[in-house]
Protein backbone atom coordinates (compact mmCIF):
# COMPACT_ATOMS: atom_id res chain seq x y z
CA UNK A 1 0.00 0.00 0.00
CA UNK A 2 3.02 2.30 -0.27
CA UNK A 3 1.56 4.24 -3.22
CA UNK A 4 -1.65 5.03 -1.37
CA UNK A 5 -3.13 7.42 -0.53
CA UNK A 6 -2.19 9.55 -3.56
CA UNK A 7 -2.72 13.30 -3.92
CA UNK A 8 -3.35 14.54 -7.47
CA UNK A 9 -4.45 17.89 -8.83
CA UNK A 10 -7.80 18.20 -10.59
CA UNK A 11 -7.39 20.82 -13.32
CA UNK A 12 -7.89 24.29 -11.85
CA UNK A 13 -10.42 23.03 -9.30
CA UNK A 14 -8.51 21.51 -6.41
CA UNK A 15 -6.90 18.32 -5.14
CA UNK A 16 -8.03 14.71 -5.09
CA UNK A 17 -6.91 12.30 -2.37
CA UNK A 18 -7.33 8.69 -3.54
CA UNK A 19 -7.08 5.82 -1.06
CA UNK A 20 -6.99 2.80 -3.38
CA UNK A 21 -6.88 1.74 -7.00
CA UNK A 22 -10.30 0.11 -6.86
CA UNK A 23 -13.42 0.02 -4.73
CA UNK A 24 -13.04 -1.58 -1.31
CA UNK A 25 -14.88 -1.10 1.98
CA UNK A 26 -11.85 0.21 3.89
CA UNK A 27 -10.91 2.67 1.13
CA UNK A 28 -14.49 3.98 0.97
CA UNK A 29 -14.56 4.42 4.77
CA UNK A 30 -11.19 6.19 4.60
CA UNK A 31 -12.47 8.64 1.95
CA UNK A 32 -15.59 9.42 4.03
CA UNK A 33 -13.62 9.84 7.27
CA UNK A 34 -10.96 11.99 5.59
CA UNK A 35 -13.57 14.30 4.05
CA UNK A 36 -15.12 14.77 7.52
CA UNK A 37 -11.68 15.56 8.93
CA UNK A 38 -10.99 18.15 6.20
CA UNK A 39 -14.36 19.79 6.91
CA UNK A 40 -13.48 19.83 10.60
CA UNK A 41 -10.26 21.77 9.93
CA UNK A 42 -12.37 24.70 8.74
CA UNK A 43 -9.68 25.84 6.27
CA UNK A 44 -11.08 29.09 4.87
CA UNK A 45 -9.69 28.48 1.34
CA UNK A 46 -11.75 25.32 0.91
CA UNK A 47 -14.94 26.06 -1.02
CA UNK A 48 -16.36 22.56 -1.32
CA UNK A 49 -15.53 18.95 -0.48
CA UNK A 50 -16.99 15.69 -1.77
CA UNK A 51 -16.26 11.99 -1.98
CA UNK A 52 -16.41 9.46 -4.77
CA UNK A 53 -16.03 5.70 -4.14
CA UNK A 54 -12.43 5.74 -2.86
CA UNK A 55 -11.43 9.43 -3.02
CA UNK A 56 -11.92 12.73 -1.25
CA UNK A 57 -12.05 15.88 -3.39
CA UNK A 58 -11.06 19.24 -1.91
CA UNK A 59 -11.99 22.27 -3.99
CA UNK A 60 -10.30 25.63 -3.44
CA UNK A 61 -9.10 28.69 -5.32
CA UNK A 62 -6.06 27.24 -7.11
CA UNK A 63 -2.67 28.94 -7.51
CA UNK A 64 0.88 27.51 -7.40
CA UNK A 65 1.22 28.61 -3.79
CA UNK A 66 -2.24 27.43 -2.81
CA UNK A 67 -1.56 23.98 -4.30
CA UNK A 68 1.77 23.69 -2.47
CA UNK A 69 0.27 24.82 0.84
CA UNK A 70 -2.80 22.63 0.55
CA UNK A 71 -0.74 19.58 -0.48
CA UNK A 72 1.43 19.99 2.63
CA UNK A 73 -1.59 20.38 4.87
CA UNK A 74 -3.35 17.36 3.38
CA UNK A 75 -0.18 15.26 3.69
CA UNK A 76 0.14 16.27 7.35
CA UNK A 77 -3.48 15.44 8.01
CA UNK A 78 -3.11 12.07 6.25
CA UNK A 79 -0.21 11.21 8.57
CA UNK A 80 -2.16 11.85 11.77
CA UNK A 81 -3.82 8.42 11.70
CA UNK A 82 -4.60 5.20 9.85
CA UNK A 83 -7.55 6.32 7.72
CA UNK A 84 -8.36 2.74 6.69
CA UNK A 85 -9.08 1.91 10.34
CA UNK A 86 -10.83 5.19 11.11
CA UNK A 87 -14.42 5.15 12.40
CA UNK A 88 -17.10 6.50 10.07
CA UNK A 89 -18.09 10.14 10.66
CA UNK A 90 -20.75 10.98 13.26
CA UNK A 91 -24.21 12.31 12.44
CA UNK A 92 -25.15 9.53 10.06
CA UNK A 93 -28.68 8.11 9.64
CA UNK A 94 -30.07 4.58 9.34
CA UNK A 95 -33.00 4.43 6.93
CA UNK A 96 -35.68 1.74 6.63
CA UNK A 97 -37.08 1.99 3.10
CA UNK A 98 -40.12 -0.20 2.37
CA UNK A 99 -39.63 -2.16 -0.86
CA UNK A 100 -41.70 -4.41 -3.11
CA UNK A 101 -39.42 -7.18 -4.39
CA UNK A 102 -40.22 -8.74 -7.75
CA UNK A 103 -43.77 -8.64 -9.20
CA UNK A 104 -44.43 -6.62 -12.35
CA UNK A 105 -43.07 -3.57 -10.48
CA UNK A 106 -39.53 -5.01 -10.40
CA UNK A 107 -39.36 -7.75 -13.01
CA UNK A 108 -35.69 -8.79 -12.67
CA UNK A 109 -35.66 -10.10 -9.09
CA UNK A 110 -35.80 -13.73 -10.22
CA UNK A 111 -33.04 -13.26 -12.76
CA UNK A 112 -30.78 -11.65 -10.15
CA UNK A 113 -31.58 -14.36 -7.60
CA UNK A 114 -30.66 -17.05 -10.10
CA UNK A 115 -27.38 -15.33 -10.92
CA UNK A 116 -26.61 -15.31 -7.18
CA UNK A 117 -27.53 -19.02 -6.89
CA UNK A 118 -30.64 -18.49 -4.75
CA UNK A 119 -34.34 -19.15 -5.17
CA UNK A 120 -36.45 -15.96 -5.23
CA UNK A 121 -37.86 -16.37 -1.69
CA UNK A 122 -34.41 -16.89 -0.20
CA UNK A 123 -33.14 -13.88 -2.16
CA UNK A 124 -35.94 -11.65 -0.84
CA UNK A 125 -35.40 -12.91 2.71
CA UNK A 126 -31.72 -12.06 2.51
CA UNK A 127 -32.01 -8.73 0.67
CA UNK A 128 -34.75 -7.42 2.95
CA UNK A 129 -32.42 -7.85 5.94
CA UNK A 130 -29.15 -6.72 4.37
CA UNK A 131 -27.82 -3.48 5.72
CA UNK A 132 -25.88 -1.42 3.19
CA UNK A 133 -24.07 1.92 3.36
CA UNK A 134 -24.18 4.85 0.94
CA UNK A 135 -20.74 4.45 -0.67
CA UNK A 136 -21.15 7.55 -2.79
CA UNK A 137 -23.80 9.78 -4.33
CA UNK A 138 -23.67 10.57 -8.01
CA UNK A 139 -24.95 10.13 -11.56
CA UNK A 140 -28.10 12.05 -10.59
CA UNK A 141 -28.81 14.34 -7.62
CA UNK A 142 -29.19 12.42 -4.37
CA UNK A 143 -28.76 9.07 -6.10
CA UNK A 144 -27.01 6.61 -3.76
CA UNK A 145 -24.59 3.81 -4.67
CA UNK A 146 -24.88 1.41 -1.75
CA UNK A 147 -22.95 -1.65 -0.62
CA UNK A 148 -21.47 -3.97 -0.20
CA UNK A 149 -23.77 -6.98 -0.34
CA UNK A 150 -22.46 -10.50 0.40
CA UNK A 151 -19.98 -11.87 -2.20
CA UNK A 152 -22.53 -14.09 -3.99
CA UNK A 153 -24.21 -10.85 -5.18
CA UNK A 154 -21.17 -10.01 -7.27
CA UNK A 155 -23.20 -10.32 -10.46
CA UNK A 156 -22.17 -8.43 -13.59
CA UNK A 157 -24.21 -5.72 -15.23
CA UNK A 158 -26.46 -7.12 -17.96
CA UNK A 159 -25.15 -6.76 -21.50
CA UNK A 160 -28.15 -4.94 -22.91
CA UNK A 161 -29.69 -1.90 -21.27
CA UNK A 162 -33.15 -1.89 -19.73
CA UNK A 163 -34.83 0.93 -21.63
CA UNK A 164 -36.16 2.71 -18.57
CA UNK A 165 -36.70 2.07 -14.88
CA UNK A 166 -38.89 4.49 -12.92
CA UNK A 167 -37.80 6.81 -10.08
CA UNK A 168 -37.45 4.89 -6.83
CA UNK A 169 -36.29 1.70 -8.57
CA UNK A 170 -33.97 -0.52 -6.52
CA UNK A 171 -31.40 -1.98 -8.92
CA UNK A 172 -28.43 -4.28 -8.37
CA UNK A 173 -25.02 -5.28 -9.80
CA UNK A 174 -21.45 -5.90 -8.54
CA UNK A 175 -22.49 -6.26 -4.84
CA UNK A 176 -24.06 -2.79 -4.96
CA UNK A 177 -27.57 -1.33 -4.95
CA UNK A 178 -28.84 1.95 -6.40
CA UNK A 179 -32.14 3.76 -5.84
CA UNK A 180 -32.74 5.69 -9.05
CA UNK A 181 -33.53 9.39 -8.71
CA UNK A 182 -35.08 9.83 -12.15
CA UNK A 183 -36.42 7.49 -14.80
CA UNK A 184 -33.35 6.16 -16.55
CA UNK A 185 -32.00 3.44 -18.81
CA UNK A 186 -29.72 1.05 -16.90
CA UNK A 187 -27.58 -2.04 -17.20
CA UNK A 188 -28.30 -2.89 -13.55
CA UNK A 189 -31.07 -5.40 -12.70
CA UNK A 190 -34.36 -4.01 -11.41
CA UNK A 191 -35.05 -6.13 -8.30
CA UNK A 192 -37.28 -3.91 -6.14
CA UNK A 193 -39.47 -0.84 -6.23
CA UNK A 194 -39.59 1.84 -3.55
CA UNK A 195 -41.62 5.05 -3.34
CA UNK A 196 -38.59 6.80 -1.81
CA UNK A 197 -37.62 10.01 -3.63
CA UNK A 198 -33.88 10.57 -3.40
CA UNK A 199 -34.10 14.18 -4.64
CA UNK A 200 -36.91 16.49 -3.50
CA UNK A 201 -36.18 19.97 -4.91
CA UNK A 202 -38.17 22.65 -3.15
CA UNK A 203 -38.58 20.64 0.06
CA UNK A 204 -36.81 21.30 3.36
CA UNK A 205 -34.64 18.25 2.84
CA UNK A 206 -33.87 18.18 -0.91
CA UNK A 207 -31.25 15.46 -0.48
CA UNK A 208 -32.44 12.99 2.18
CA UNK A 209 -29.38 10.73 1.89
CA UNK A 210 -25.75 11.57 2.62
CA UNK A 211 -22.62 9.50 1.92
CA UNK A 212 -22.08 7.18 4.88
CA UNK A 213 -25.80 6.77 5.71
CA UNK A 214 -27.00 3.18 6.06
CA UNK A 215 -30.13 1.59 4.64
CA UNK A 216 -32.30 -1.51 5.07
CA UNK A 217 -35.00 -2.41 2.54
CA UNK A 218 -37.76 -4.35 4.38
CA UNK A 219 -40.13 -6.29 2.12
CA UNK A 220 -43.71 -5.02 1.78
CA UNK A 221 -46.71 -6.19 -0.24
CA UNK A 222 -48.05 -4.59 -3.37
CA UNK A 223 -51.10 -3.37 -1.37
CA UNK A 224 -48.88 -1.63 1.17
CA UNK A 225 -46.87 -0.08 -1.67
CA UNK A 226 -50.00 1.35 -3.31
CA UNK A 227 -50.80 3.07 -0.02
CA UNK A 228 -47.42 4.86 0.21
CA UNK A 229 -46.67 5.33 -3.48
CA UNK A 230 -47.69 9.02 -3.51
CA UNK A 231 -45.67 9.90 -0.43
CA UNK A 232 -42.21 11.24 -1.43
CA UNK A 233 -40.75 9.81 1.79
CA UNK A 234 -41.90 6.40 0.55
CA UNK A 235 -42.92 5.37 4.06
CA UNK A 236 -39.27 5.43 5.11
CA UNK A 237 -38.35 5.60 8.79
CA UNK A 238 -35.09 7.03 10.03
CA UNK A 239 -33.00 6.66 13.15
CA UNK A 240 -29.79 8.39 14.17
CA UNK A 241 -26.64 6.26 14.08
CA UNK A 242 -24.33 6.87 16.99
Amino acid sequence: MTDWPRIRSVGLSGLLITFAERMSEPANCAALAFRAAVEEQGWPEVTETSTSLVSTFVQFEVSQDAIATMTDRLRDLLQTRDWFAEALPAGRTLWHVPTVYGTDLAPQLEEAAEAAGLDPDAAIAELSQSRVRVLTIGFAPGQPYMGELAPHWDIPRQQGLTKSVPPGSLVMAIRQLIIFTNASPTGWRHIGQTAFRTFRPGSEMPFPLSPGDELIFPSITRQEFDRISDDPTGGAEREALT
Binding site: V10, L12, T51, S55, V62, G138, F199, P206
Partner: protein, 343 residues
Amino acid sequence: MSAALTILQAGPAMTIQDLGRPGYRALGLTHGGAADPTALHEGAALLGQDPNCAALEMAGSGGSFEADQDIRIALTGAQMQVSIDGEPIAWNASHLLPAGAKLTIGGARDGAYGYLHVGGGFDVKPVMESRSSHLAAGIGALLQSGEVLPLGADKGGETNLTLPRDSRFGAERVRIVASMQTDAFDDATRARFTETTFRRDARANRMGARMDHDGEGFATGGQLTIVSEVITPGDIQITGDGAPFVLMCECQTTGGYPRIGTVIPCDLPIVAQAQPGAALQFAFIDLDEALAAETRHRADLAALPKRRQLLLRDPARIRDLLAYQLISGVVSATADPFEEDKT
Protein backbone atom coordinates in the same frame (compact mmCIF):
# COMPACT_ATOMS: atom_id res chain seq x y z
CA MET B 1 -46.87 46.30 -10.40
CA SER B 2 -44.00 44.30 -11.78
CA ALA B 3 -43.80 43.49 -15.47
CA ALA B 4 -44.21 40.13 -17.17
CA LEU B 5 -43.03 38.67 -20.47
CA THR B 6 -45.33 36.31 -22.34
CA ILE B 7 -43.83 33.64 -24.58
CA LEU B 8 -45.99 33.78 -27.71
CA GLN B 9 -44.03 31.03 -29.39
CA ALA B 10 -41.31 29.03 -27.65
CA GLY B 11 -38.21 27.76 -29.45
CA PRO B 12 -37.25 24.10 -29.04
CA ALA B 13 -34.89 24.40 -26.08
CA MET B 14 -35.38 27.52 -23.99
CA THR B 15 -34.66 27.54 -20.25
CA ILE B 16 -34.14 30.07 -17.48
CA GLN B 17 -30.48 30.28 -16.41
CA ASP B 18 -28.36 32.24 -13.96
CA LEU B 19 -24.80 31.56 -12.79
CA GLY B 20 -25.88 28.24 -11.31
CA ARG B 21 -26.13 26.39 -8.05
CA PRO B 22 -22.70 25.64 -6.57
CA GLY B 23 -22.12 23.65 -3.38
CA TYR B 24 -24.02 20.42 -4.02
CA ARG B 25 -21.41 18.25 -5.73
CA ALA B 26 -21.17 15.89 -2.74
CA LEU B 27 -24.90 15.24 -3.13
CA GLY B 28 -24.75 14.53 -6.83
CA LEU B 29 -25.73 17.89 -8.32
CA THR B 30 -23.39 19.86 -10.62
CA HIS B 31 -23.62 23.63 -10.51
CA GLY B 32 -25.39 23.99 -13.87
CA GLY B 33 -26.24 27.57 -14.84
CA ALA B 34 -25.79 29.27 -18.19
CA ALA B 35 -23.91 27.20 -20.80
CA ASP B 36 -22.06 30.43 -21.69
CA PRO B 37 -21.58 32.38 -18.44
CA THR B 38 -19.63 35.09 -20.28
CA ALA B 39 -22.90 35.96 -22.06
CA LEU B 40 -24.57 36.49 -18.66
CA HIS B 41 -21.85 38.97 -17.70
CA GLU B 42 -22.29 40.78 -21.02
CA GLY B 43 -26.06 41.03 -20.56
CA ALA B 44 -25.61 42.31 -17.02
CA ALA B 45 -23.10 44.93 -18.20
CA LEU B 46 -25.48 46.12 -20.93
CA LEU B 47 -28.33 46.53 -18.45
CA GLY B 48 -26.19 47.67 -15.53
CA GLN B 49 -27.20 44.85 -13.20
CA ASP B 50 -25.94 41.76 -11.34
CA PRO B 51 -24.55 38.98 -13.60
CA ASN B 52 -26.51 36.45 -11.54
CA CYS B 53 -29.81 37.94 -12.77
CA ALA B 54 -31.74 35.12 -14.46
CA ALA B 55 -31.87 35.27 -18.27
CA LEU B 56 -33.52 33.22 -20.95
CA GLU B 57 -31.15 30.76 -22.64
CA MET B 58 -32.09 29.77 -26.19
CA ALA B 59 -30.35 26.74 -27.69
CA GLY B 60 -30.27 26.88 -31.51
CA SER B 61 -33.11 29.32 -31.97
CA GLY B 62 -35.32 31.75 -30.08
CA GLY B 63 -39.05 32.44 -30.18
CA SER B 64 -41.45 35.34 -29.99
CA PHE B 65 -42.31 37.38 -26.93
CA GLU B 66 -44.45 40.26 -25.71
CA ALA B 67 -44.19 42.36 -22.55
CA ASP B 68 -47.13 43.88 -20.66
CA GLN B 69 -45.15 47.05 -19.86
CA ASP B 70 -42.23 48.90 -21.44
CA ILE B 71 -39.18 46.88 -20.40
CA ARG B 72 -35.44 46.97 -21.02
CA ILE B 73 -33.92 43.97 -22.75
CA ALA B 74 -30.45 42.88 -23.85
CA LEU B 75 -29.41 40.20 -26.32
CA THR B 76 -26.10 38.34 -26.00
CA GLY B 77 -24.43 35.04 -26.89
CA ALA B 78 -24.83 33.49 -30.33
CA GLN B 79 -26.10 36.04 -32.87
CA MET B 80 -29.71 35.39 -33.78
CA GLN B 81 -32.05 37.13 -36.21
CA VAL B 82 -34.02 39.58 -34.08
CA SER B 83 -36.69 42.19 -34.64
CA ILE B 84 -39.24 44.27 -32.75
CA ASP B 85 -42.55 44.50 -34.64
CA GLY B 86 -40.70 43.44 -37.78
CA GLU B 87 -37.97 46.09 -37.45
CA PRO B 88 -34.51 44.46 -37.21
CA ILE B 89 -32.53 45.42 -34.10
CA ALA B 90 -28.92 44.86 -33.13
CA TRP B 91 -27.64 41.79 -31.30
CA ASN B 92 -25.15 42.21 -28.45
CA ALA B 93 -27.01 45.33 -27.41
CA SER B 94 -29.68 46.64 -25.06
CA HIS B 95 -33.04 47.95 -26.25
CA LEU B 96 -36.36 49.22 -25.02
CA LEU B 97 -39.14 46.71 -25.71
CA PRO B 98 -42.39 48.70 -25.68
CA ALA B 99 -45.47 47.18 -24.06
CA GLY B 100 -47.38 45.07 -26.55
CA ALA B 101 -44.63 45.07 -29.19
CA LYS B 102 -43.65 41.69 -30.61
CA LEU B 103 -40.05 40.62 -30.10
CA THR B 104 -39.09 37.90 -32.56
CA ILE B 105 -35.84 35.94 -32.24
CA GLY B 106 -34.80 33.46 -34.95
CA GLY B 107 -32.03 30.93 -35.52
CA ALA B 108 -28.42 31.17 -34.28
CA ARG B 109 -25.91 32.23 -36.92
CA ASP B 110 -22.49 32.01 -35.30
CA GLY B 111 -22.94 29.96 -32.14
CA ALA B 112 -25.19 27.62 -30.21
CA TYR B 113 -26.73 29.56 -27.30
CA GLY B 114 -28.35 33.00 -27.43
CA TYR B 115 -29.55 34.90 -24.35
CA LEU B 116 -32.45 37.27 -23.74
CA HIS B 117 -31.90 39.40 -20.65
CA VAL B 118 -34.50 41.65 -19.06
CA GLY B 119 -34.09 44.59 -16.70
CA GLY B 120 -34.43 43.18 -13.16
CA GLY B 121 -33.95 39.59 -14.38
CA PHE B 122 -36.61 36.90 -14.61
CA ASP B 123 -38.16 36.48 -11.19
CA VAL B 124 -39.10 32.80 -11.31
CA LYS B 125 -39.10 30.98 -7.97
CA PRO B 126 -35.59 30.01 -6.87
CA VAL B 127 -34.88 26.36 -6.06
CA MET B 128 -31.99 26.00 -3.60
CA GLU B 129 -30.93 29.65 -4.06
CA SER B 130 -30.79 29.57 -7.86
CA ARG B 131 -33.28 30.16 -10.66
CA SER B 132 -31.38 27.94 -13.11
CA SER B 133 -33.22 25.07 -14.70
CA HIS B 134 -31.19 21.86 -14.46
CA LEU B 135 -33.07 19.49 -16.71
CA ALA B 136 -30.78 16.52 -16.08
CA ALA B 137 -31.56 16.82 -12.36
CA GLY B 138 -35.27 17.44 -12.80
CA ILE B 139 -35.17 21.10 -11.72
CA GLY B 140 -37.26 23.42 -13.91
CA ALA B 141 -38.41 22.58 -17.42
CA LEU B 142 -38.17 23.65 -21.05
CA LEU B 143 -40.21 26.83 -21.50
CA GLN B 144 -43.44 26.47 -23.45
CA SER B 145 -45.55 28.74 -25.66
CA GLY B 146 -48.09 30.66 -23.62
CA GLU B 147 -46.01 30.80 -20.45
CA VAL B 148 -45.91 34.14 -18.64
CA LEU B 149 -42.58 34.92 -16.98
CA PRO B 150 -42.53 37.43 -14.10
CA LEU B 151 -39.77 40.07 -14.12
CA GLY B 152 -37.93 41.43 -11.11
CA ALA B 153 -38.00 45.13 -10.34
CA ASP B 154 -35.80 47.02 -12.81
CA LYS B 155 -33.86 49.83 -11.19
CA GLY B 156 -33.77 51.35 -14.65
CA GLY B 157 -31.01 52.69 -16.82
CA GLU B 158 -29.94 53.33 -20.35
CA THR B 159 -30.71 51.29 -23.42
CA ASN B 160 -29.26 51.36 -26.95
CA LEU B 161 -25.86 50.36 -25.65
CA THR B 162 -23.68 47.77 -27.31
CA LEU B 163 -20.56 45.76 -26.54
CA PRO B 164 -17.82 44.76 -29.00
CA ARG B 165 -18.18 41.21 -30.30
CA ASP B 166 -16.13 38.76 -28.23
CA SER B 167 -13.53 36.51 -29.84
CA ARG B 168 -15.04 33.29 -28.43
CA PHE B 169 -17.37 32.85 -31.42
CA GLY B 170 -15.74 30.77 -34.12
CA ALA B 171 -12.52 30.37 -32.08
CA GLU B 172 -10.71 27.08 -32.73
CA ARG B 173 -8.05 26.93 -30.04
CA VAL B 174 -9.22 25.67 -26.68
CA ARG B 175 -6.73 25.73 -23.82
CA ILE B 176 -6.61 22.74 -21.49
CA VAL B 177 -4.61 21.74 -18.42
CA ALA B 178 -3.58 18.32 -17.17
CA SER B 179 -5.89 16.67 -14.68
CA MET B 180 -5.73 13.64 -12.40
CA GLN B 181 -5.83 11.01 -15.18
CA THR B 182 -3.80 12.77 -17.87
CA ASP B 183 -0.84 10.53 -16.95
CA ALA B 184 -2.90 7.45 -17.79
CA PHE B 185 -2.51 8.40 -21.48
CA ASP B 186 0.94 7.83 -22.95
CA ASP B 187 2.97 10.68 -24.49
CA ALA B 188 2.20 9.65 -28.07
CA THR B 189 -1.56 9.60 -27.41
CA ARG B 190 -1.46 13.01 -25.74
CA ALA B 191 0.59 14.45 -28.60
CA ARG B 192 -1.79 13.02 -31.19
CA PHE B 193 -4.71 14.45 -29.20
CA THR B 194 -3.36 17.99 -29.36
CA GLU B 195 -2.42 17.66 -33.04
CA THR B 196 -5.90 16.54 -34.04
CA THR B 197 -8.48 18.97 -35.36
CA PHE B 198 -11.83 17.85 -34.01
CA ARG B 199 -15.30 18.69 -35.23
CA ARG B 200 -18.05 19.33 -32.73
CA ASP B 201 -20.53 16.48 -33.18
CA ALA B 202 -24.22 17.25 -33.64
CA ARG B 203 -24.71 15.39 -30.35
CA ALA B 204 -24.06 18.19 -27.88
CA ASN B 205 -26.15 19.64 -25.12
CA ARG B 206 -25.83 21.18 -21.67
CA MET B 207 -24.38 17.91 -20.32
CA GLY B 208 -21.59 17.44 -22.82
CA ALA B 209 -20.30 17.83 -26.36
CA ARG B 210 -18.89 14.93 -28.34
CA MET B 211 -15.87 15.59 -30.57
CA ASP B 212 -15.47 13.80 -33.91
CA HIS B 213 -12.22 13.15 -35.74
CA ASP B 214 -10.76 10.91 -38.40
CA GLY B 215 -8.42 8.17 -37.31
CA GLU B 216 -8.14 5.96 -34.26
CA GLY B 217 -9.45 6.73 -30.80
CA PHE B 218 -7.55 7.91 -27.73
CA ALA B 219 -7.62 4.92 -25.37
CA THR B 220 -5.59 4.54 -22.17
CA GLY B 221 -3.91 1.27 -21.30
CA GLY B 222 -6.28 0.53 -18.45
CA GLN B 223 -9.43 2.09 -19.88
CA LEU B 224 -11.93 -0.28 -18.28
CA THR B 225 -10.50 -0.50 -14.79
CA ILE B 226 -10.59 3.17 -13.80
CA VAL B 227 -12.67 3.65 -10.67
CA SER B 228 -15.39 6.32 -10.75
CA GLU B 229 -13.97 9.73 -9.78
CA VAL B 230 -15.06 13.34 -9.38
CA ILE B 231 -15.97 15.24 -12.57
CA THR B 232 -15.57 18.98 -13.00
CA PRO B 233 -17.13 20.83 -15.94
CA GLY B 234 -14.59 21.11 -18.75
CA ASP B 235 -13.20 17.61 -18.20
CA ILE B 236 -12.55 15.80 -21.48
CA GLN B 237 -13.51 12.18 -20.96
CA ILE B 238 -12.62 9.47 -23.43
CA THR B 239 -15.62 7.17 -23.83
CA GLY B 240 -15.54 3.47 -24.73
CA ASP B 241 -15.16 4.06 -28.48
CA GLY B 242 -12.17 6.39 -27.97
CA ALA B 243 -14.03 9.63 -28.79
CA PRO B 244 -13.46 12.66 -26.57
CA PHE B 245 -16.46 14.15 -24.82
CA VAL B 246 -16.18 17.61 -23.25
CA LEU B 247 -18.31 17.67 -20.12
CA MET B 248 -20.40 20.82 -19.79
CA CYS B 249 -22.21 22.67 -16.99
CA GLU B 250 -24.95 20.07 -16.47
CA CYS B 251 -22.67 17.00 -16.42
CA GLN B 252 -22.67 14.24 -13.82
CA THR B 253 -20.66 14.72 -10.63
CA THR B 254 -18.67 11.49 -10.93
CA GLY B 255 -17.73 9.19 -13.76
CA GLY B 256 -15.64 6.16 -14.61
CA TYR B 257 -14.27 7.19 -18.02
CA PRO B 258 -10.69 8.51 -17.95
CA ARG B 259 -10.15 12.25 -18.46
CA ILE B 260 -7.28 13.27 -20.76
CA GLY B 261 -7.37 16.87 -19.54
CA THR B 262 -9.73 19.67 -18.61
CA VAL B 263 -10.72 22.81 -20.50
CA ILE B 264 -9.87 25.92 -18.49
CA PRO B 265 -13.07 27.64 -17.30
CA CYS B 266 -12.62 30.81 -19.39
CA ASP B 267 -12.36 28.74 -22.61
CA LEU B 268 -15.36 26.51 -21.91
CA PRO B 269 -17.75 29.02 -23.58
CA ILE B 270 -15.81 28.43 -26.84
CA VAL B 271 -16.85 24.77 -26.71
CA ALA B 272 -20.40 25.64 -25.60
CA GLN B 273 -20.81 28.08 -28.50
CA ALA B 274 -19.19 25.87 -31.17
CA GLN B 275 -21.73 25.05 -33.86
CA PRO B 276 -22.19 21.48 -35.09
CA GLY B 277 -19.24 20.67 -37.36
CA ALA B 278 -17.11 23.57 -36.06
CA ALA B 279 -13.37 22.84 -35.89
CA LEU B 280 -11.77 22.74 -32.43
CA GLN B 281 -8.23 22.04 -31.34
CA PHE B 282 -7.04 21.43 -27.78
CA ALA B 283 -3.75 22.85 -26.51
CA PHE B 284 -2.14 21.90 -23.19
CA ILE B 285 -0.89 24.91 -21.24
CA ASP B 286 0.83 24.87 -17.85
CA LEU B 287 -0.74 25.90 -14.60
CA ASP B 288 0.82 29.38 -14.49
CA GLU B 289 -0.34 30.21 -17.99
CA ALA B 290 -3.83 28.91 -17.16
CA LEU B 291 -4.03 30.94 -13.96
CA ALA B 292 -2.88 34.05 -15.79
CA ALA B 293 -5.57 33.47 -18.45
CA GLU B 294 -8.25 33.10 -15.75
CA THR B 295 -7.11 36.26 -13.98
CA ARG B 296 -7.19 38.19 -17.26
CA HIS B 297 -10.65 36.81 -18.06
CA ARG B 298 -12.02 37.95 -14.69
CA ALA B 299 -10.55 41.40 -15.22
CA ASP B 300 -12.14 41.50 -18.69
CA LEU B 301 -15.54 40.60 -17.24
CA ALA B 302 -15.21 43.28 -14.56
CA ALA B 303 -14.29 45.85 -17.23
CA LEU B 304 -17.29 45.07 -19.48
CA PRO B 305 -19.38 48.04 -18.25
CA LYS B 306 -16.56 50.38 -19.36
CA ARG B 307 -16.58 48.91 -22.87
CA ARG B 308 -20.23 49.75 -23.55
CA GLN B 309 -20.81 52.11 -26.45
CA LEU B 310 -23.83 53.93 -27.75
CA LEU B 311 -25.53 51.92 -30.43
CA LEU B 312 -25.20 53.89 -33.62
CA ARG B 313 -28.33 53.78 -35.68
CA ASP B 314 -28.75 54.89 -39.23
CA PRO B 315 -31.59 57.48 -39.11
CA ALA B 316 -32.53 56.55 -42.69
CA ARG B 317 -33.44 53.07 -41.46
CA ILE B 318 -35.69 54.31 -38.68
CA ARG B 319 -39.14 54.01 -40.18
CA ASP B 320 -40.99 56.19 -37.69
CA LEU B 321 -38.28 58.78 -37.11
CA LEU B 322 -40.77 61.57 -36.40
CA ALA B 323 -42.27 59.64 -33.52
CA TYR B 324 -38.95 59.77 -31.66
CA GLN B 325 -38.48 62.41 -29.00
CA LEU B 326 -35.14 63.66 -30.31
CA ILE B 327 -34.65 66.70 -28.13
CA SER B 328 -35.39 65.25 -24.72
CA GLY B 329 -32.67 66.10 -22.23
CA VAL B 330 -31.10 68.83 -24.34
CA VAL B 331 -29.63 71.60 -22.19
CA SER B 332 -31.26 74.99 -22.60
CA ALA B 333 -28.99 77.80 -23.76
CA THR B 334 -30.61 80.25 -21.41
CA ALA B 335 -30.99 78.27 -18.23
CA ASP B 336 -28.36 78.49 -15.51
CA PRO B 337 -26.89 74.98 -15.30
CA PHE B 338 -26.13 75.47 -11.60
CA GLU B 339 -29.62 76.62 -10.76
CA GLU B 340 -30.78 73.07 -10.05
CA ASP B 341 -28.04 72.46 -7.51
CA LYS B 342 -29.15 75.40 -5.40
CA THR B 343 -32.64 74.10 -4.76
